[in-house]
Symmetry: C2
Subunit: 136 residues, 2 copies
Amino acid sequence: MENCLFCKIIKQEIPSFKVYENKHVYAFLDINAATKYHTLVIPKNHSENSFDANENDLSEVIKAVSKIMDHYKKNLGIHDIQIINSNGEIAQQDIFHTHYHIVPRYAADGKNIERNQARVPDEELEQCRSNIWTIE
Amino acid sequence: MENCLFCKIIKQEIPSFKVYENKHVYAFLDINAATKYHTLVIPKNHSENSFDANENDLSEVIKAVSKIMDHYKKNLGIHDIQIINSNGEIAQQDIFHTHYHIVPRYAADGKNIERNQARVPDEELEQCRSNIWTIE
């Protein structure tokens, strides 16, 4: 959809750090990461949120989430992950294109599933980017 | 699985307020609700969390989540919902049977996706229970 940030990311009109892609979904590192390796998974078909996304797209998203979780566990040693999907402005949705957050959690990370709190410093993000690769 | 709280709920050995059920999943109101109509959706096959749940079970869970969201929107006027799935002790998972939270959000509810904070008072929970019904 025109003027949708995530549609532009899918079309590569805006750069992103891709983690995974298939015919149905696109996954990339969240630029406003709550924790290291915070990742977003989005369906390629535009929908505002899970209320209007079709079942097949949601199913494809959750399969991709599962694949990425396995990847992070195996290759990054991440054993603790929260998945979050926000629908509606009051429910803290910021971008109105359906997206699932994959939020890795770490011992004493001080988080309590608070979005929009302190961000990971840029240098740590850079470290993440250099330490990750797309799944084939 | 023996001694799994949620397996016992599925088998009706422990009572719960059912919202939805099909061959693959069971959904019920969370007794420790973060907000009104806080609901849990679980696969009937036991798995510890999304790391070891199979793809089909996760797909069925997300379809049920979607169905329940539509139900709440249409019948309760809830337009804001967060979906949360916690995997691993550090990621604030409490019960080790895969479960997806459906957390309705309300204007000025004071939440910031904090689990294990103040609970909905019992009388409000009771009101929820009397104001809900299972989807056929």
